[in-house]
């Protein structure tokens, strides 16, 4: 027991004991505290845990008895062996080899074969199952992508629901049938034999269609032509056989019949007197011409040039005729031509201008040269101007002129000069401008009253008093000018402030939702005179008050913050913020939304 406890002891202590036993006489006189300090220092440097025992036990004979000393000796001998073993390079190599060999000899035992076999079997079986399941992958993918899913209800032989693609396929065949049976719709009036690549389907629908529209011959011919033209050529390269002759005759007959139909149609059309029909026909013709021209430009430049030359000739003819009207045939053609020629556009404009000039009615009085402002003033209050004395009229004119010069006043604050405004109110509105002008005039006057300042050469002649007086006069003058200027500035500032406040109030008023008056005008008034009008209280009941909104610029005296109501704010809630998942970019998404 004791022995085990000792073996559990601090290794450092043991070593210290060993050294002590080596030189016991030397350490006999070393004080106890010093020794403890040395040990703790050693512990700290070697980082050895000395928690198990705080104090050193002195070496005793009992320890010798239990052979501890010999154990220490064994350790030292082991150390010696290690030192000799690690002495040389060759020795190290030998140790390494021995270690490796030992490792090789003592490998960790593997799991019993029964277990590993079971595992490998499981893995193999899982892989087989995976393979079986994987075979369904294509089916599953197709099923996931398909628009419809069919799942069997057992014990019922219900047919599979018709899928969209089936339906589309059928629709395509139907259209093909219709195309092959109706050459005019496919090829226009070119009269070419119908050679559609679509197969001629001989089902009930197409047969019915042919029978109905009497196109059996065409369809059959198409079928023949599509079926074996090369065979026939190979059979009779030079000679025409009966079938071919018959076919050619039939096609000739068809051509003749078609021409006849066309002639009849044109005749019928030429007899139509309806204006609207003519209008439509004209437009259609113009459109067709336009399309032809566009097509010609690319396909046949020579023909295009010829057509353009013809148009030019028509223009020259028109110039001779002097019918400068916008709706003439010439103009229409020019408009068409203008698509390709800037000069033509200019010509049309010129012509219209000229037409206007020529057709303008000449006026008796020569008032045309009066300026815009005057005409404005006139239009606003010409009746008043006639009645008012001349000076008032002058004032009015001055005032308006002043107002127009003053660009700083915002448009919303400028007095409205609508025709409905009376002259008196206009003068009132422009009184501010007049006042300012009078101020300016008075300033000028004051400056003119000032004593004339002596010139520099005059100052040289005069004595000091005169100089002094002149300088004092000058300073006085400067002072008065400064005062006047300051007054003026203060006044304009006050004006600007007032203007700003007015503007702000106007903006606030504009952005404030308005009350809705639901009171019916005329209510209680049709019963005739003598009836009492509706009381104001009652009228106010019909007014729906708009909610008062707090303005963002209410706290800022010098700022106007415009709050755009409605559109932008309300719309933002409805907008998609990012590009949603299946789309790669905004264009794709927008395209999908447009489709």
């Amino acid at each position: 027991m004791k022995n085990r406890e000792d073996s559990d002891d601090d290794p450092l202590e043991e070593e210290a004991e060993a050294t002590m036993s080596a030189g016991e006489e030397a350490s006999a006189d070393v004080p106890e505290e010093d020794h403890a300090a040395l040990l703790s220092g050693l512990r700290r440097t070697l980082k050895v845990d000395g928690r198990r025992r705080s104090e050193r036990r002195p070496p005793s004979s009992a320890m010798d008895v239990h052979g501890l000393r010999s154990a220490g000796g064994a350790a030292s001998s082991m150390r010696q062996i290690l030192a000799t073993a690690l002495g040389g390079q060759a020795a190290k190599r030998a140790v390494g080899q021995e270690l490796r060999a030992a490792k090789r000899r003592h490998r960790v035992l593997e799991a019993p074969a029964k277990l590993t076999e079971a595992k490998s079997q499981r893995i193999a079986a899982y892989e087989r199952a995976n393979k079986d399941l994987g075979r369904w992958y294509g089916y599953v993918e197709r099923n996931r992508l398909s628009e419809e899913v069919s799942f069997p209800l057992p014990a019922t032989g219900a047919p599979r629901p018709q899928s969209v693609s089936d339906y589309r396929q059928r629709a395509r065949v139907d259209i093909a049938v219709a195309m092959s049976a109706d050459p005019d719709s496919a090829k226009g009036e070119s009269g070419a034999a119908p050679t559609t690549s679509a197969p001629v389907v001989d089902d009930l629908e197409s047969r019915l269609y042919r029978r109905l529209y009497n196109q059996t011959a065409i369809a059959e011919a198409a079928g023949l032509a599509a079926g074996n033209p090369q065979q026939q050529q190979q059979k009779n390269p030079n000679q025409l056989d009966g079938a071919k002759v018959r076919e050619r005759l039939a096609s000739n007959r068809r051509l003749i019949a078609r021409r006849h139909f066309l002639e009849e149609k044109l005749k019928r059309q030429s007899r139509i007197k309806s204006k609207s029909y003519r209008k439509h026909a004209r437009r259609a013709k113009l459109k067709q011409e336009e399309a032809e021209l566009t097509a010609l430009k690319d396909s046949d430049p020579a023909a295009f040039a010829e057509r353009m030359a013809a148009l030019e000739r028509a223009r020259a003819d028109e110039r001779i005729s002097q019918r400068h009207r916008g709706g003439s045939k010439f103009a229409r053609q020019q408009k068409l031509r203008a698509k390709f020629d800037d000069a033509a556009r200019q010509a049309v404009q010129d012509m219209i201008q000229r037409g206007k000039e020529l057709t303008e009615k000449t006026d008796g009085d020569a008032n045309g040269d009066s300026s815009g402002e005057d005409s404005d003033a006139k239009s606003s209050g010409d009746e008043a101007a006639v009645q008012l004395p001349e000076d008032l009229v002058d004032d009015w004119n001055d005032g308006t002129a002043e107002e127009d010069k003053d660009e700083t006043v915002p448009a919303s604050l400028r007095p409205a000069r609508s025709t409905g405004l009376s002259a008196a109110s206009s003068t009132l509105a422009s009184s501010a401008g007049q006042k300012r002008q009078q101020q300016q005039r008075s300033l000028e006057l004051d400056l003119s009253h000032m004593p004339s300042l002596p010139t520099v050469d005059a100052a040289g002649d005069e004595d000091g008093d005169a100089l002094e007086a002149a300088s004092s006069r000058r300073s006085l003058a400067r002072l008065r000018t400064d005062e006047l200027l300051a007054e003026e500035v203060a006044e304009t500032e006050a004006d600007a402030k007032a203007d700003f406040e007015r503007e702000k109030a106007a903006v606030a008023d504009e952005e404030q939702p308005k009350d809705v008056d639901l009171f019916l005008p005329g209510w209680n008034t049709w019963t005739g005179p003598g009836t009492r009008p509706v009381s104001e209280e009652r009228r106010q009941k019909f007014v729906i008050k708009a909610p008062r909104r707090k303005r963002r610029d209410a706290a800022h005296g010098h700022v106007i913050i415009r709050e755009r109501l409605g559109a932008g704010q309300a719309l933002r809630r409805h907008l998609v913020k990012g590009v949603p998942f299946p789309y790669a970019n905004a264009e794709q998404f927008e395209g999908a939304m447009r489709a």
Binding site: Q121, A129, G134, W136, Y137, V140, F151, L153, P154
Partner: protein, 445 residues
């Protein structure tokens, strides 16, 4: 005299009956309708709103059963028939459209743990863990015949669930292991076990018939091949999986309902992590079932709700609840994928529409066209915030709403913490782990 005629088809401008709406001629030229995009958007909004207005999914309750219901089983061939198993051992046979009970049996002396139909015969099996019996019942015209089991066998383990093979006379019983029984033999023909805990449910793959999947009490999911002696693979999950279901249209896909409030769908070929995590329940998911189309899932939960999911989308499409519905233990799709039957702890069987706003009954062509248009519009504008908001909005009871908020807060907190940790410790020490990889502890081969 010349008479000019315009040829017009009266069908284009005349109504069929006096009660019909007036037909309006409309010129489809796009330049005549400069506001068509805006109009369409408003129509999409209205379609979304109307969908919510008409969303009345609850069709009816089947009446009090006397005790909590544990199982539902739909008839494999008839649309209108289903079975319900009760905790007190009674099994009821229901006519769904009439909501009437055809018959009720005192089948077992304890909770009915397994119910399944024979795929071809008019025969069904039931099992109970208390009396440890498996009974076969015949459903015929003669109700007397119906009242006694055709056959009965005593088991030496407590069965926890039952599933029948799609075509053969085999059924899988899950108890302390998965047992494969042949109906003509007394002893099991196969037995699979991995670990010591019992198996909660084992189900046959409806397409690859030899494959079975099972969930066990020790949070594992087993894949079993009936041709092999041992299970193929075991997936150790974080939480217990309560139920499982194979996708009837996609043979390698299965879904499990977990105790950690989630559903998981698994690809049997890659079992290292679930293919999709379906989050939304606020308590344990008790049952899961695939629609016969294979595109939708229904789950029953301990939080008293039923949720519907699109396969592969982690958010639920809809959530059904009623004031009186308590813990839901089972939910099954009908054969035509249009209805759902649920069994809950409030002694009731309930019938729901799979599409909440679908109109039942025949549709006139015009109605059909309107429905199709509305669907197309909703689909087109699905990404627009207002449309999405309306379509996704569900009114939930306060308790559920609060639970959802709480879960959201917890999740947000965890996420924030993760991000912070990643920022501090670096991407290499705290790598981002996708949601899918967080729920599997390991895979045993």
């Amino acid at each position: 005299m010349k008479v000019k005629l315009l040829l017009r088809n009266p069908q284009d401008y005349l109504r069929e009956t006096a009660d019909d709406i007036h037909k309006l001629a409309r010129n489809p030229a796009p330049e005549l309708h400069p506001m068509s995009a805006e109009t369409e958007y408003v129509r999409a909004l209205n379609a979304a709103k109307l969908e919510r207005v008409f969303a009345k999914p609850f069709l009816g309750c089947f009446g009090d059963q006397g005790d909590q219901l544990s199982r539902v089983c739909m008839h494999p061939r008839a649309l209108s028939l289903c079975l319900s198993g009760c905790v007190d051992g009674r099994v009821a046979f229901w006519n769904i459209p009439r909501r009437s009970r055809v018959l009720q049996l005192d089948a077992h002396s304890g909770c009915v743990q397994g119910l399944c139909w024979h795929p071809e015969q008019d025969l069904f099996y039931s099992c109970c863990d208390t009396d440890r019996t498996l009974k076969a019942w015949r459903v015929g015209d003669d109700l007397v015949e119906f009242s006694r089991p055709v056959s009965q066998r005593h088991l030496d383990f407590a069965p926890l669930n039952l599933d029948h093979h799609v075509s053969k006379d085999l059924f899988a019983l899950s108890g302390d292991a998965v047992y494969l029984y042949d109906s003509r033999r007394s002893d099991p023909v196969g037995q699979w076990k991995w670990g010591s805990d019992s198996v909660l449910q084992a189900r046959f793959n409806p397409t690859e018939w030899h494959l079975l999947a099972a969930v066990t009490k020790d949070n594992a999911l087993l894949l079993i091949d009936t041709r092999q002696r041992e299970p193929l693979r075991r997936i150790r999950c974080e939480f217990r999986q309560n139920a499982l279901c194979w996708n009837p249209q996609e043979p390698f896909v299965l879904a499990t309902a977990s105790d950690d409030y989630n559903l998981y769908s698994w690809d049997a070929r890659r079992l290292a992590s679930p293919a999709c995590v379906y989050r939304g329940h606020t308590n344990a998911a008790m049952d899961v079932d695939f629609a016969p189309t294979g595109r939708e899932l229904v789950s029953a939960s301990y939080d008293c709700t039923v949720r519907l999911w699109e396969s592969g989308r982690s958010q639920s499409r809809d959530v059904y609840h009623t004031k009186r519905m308590y813990r839901v233990f089972a939910a099954r799709y009908s054969l035509d994928a249009r209805f759902i039957v649920t069994a809950s702890a409030d002694f009731n069987l309930r019938l729901w529409k799979a599409r909440a706003s679908e109109k039942l009954g025949a549709l006139t062509p015009r109605e059909r066209a309107a429905v199709n248009t509305a669907e197309a519009l909703k689909q087109k504008y699905a990404h627009h915030p207002q449309v999405r908001r309306i379509v996704q909005h569900r009114h939930l009871p306060k308790r559920l709403y609060q639970a959802q908020l709480e879960m959201k807060a917890i999740r947000g907190k965890q996420r924030r913490k993760e991000v912070n940790r990643r920022e501090h410790r670096g991407e290499d020490k705290e790598p981002f782990v996708p949601e899918r990889d967080r729920h599997v502890r390991g895979v045993d081969e």
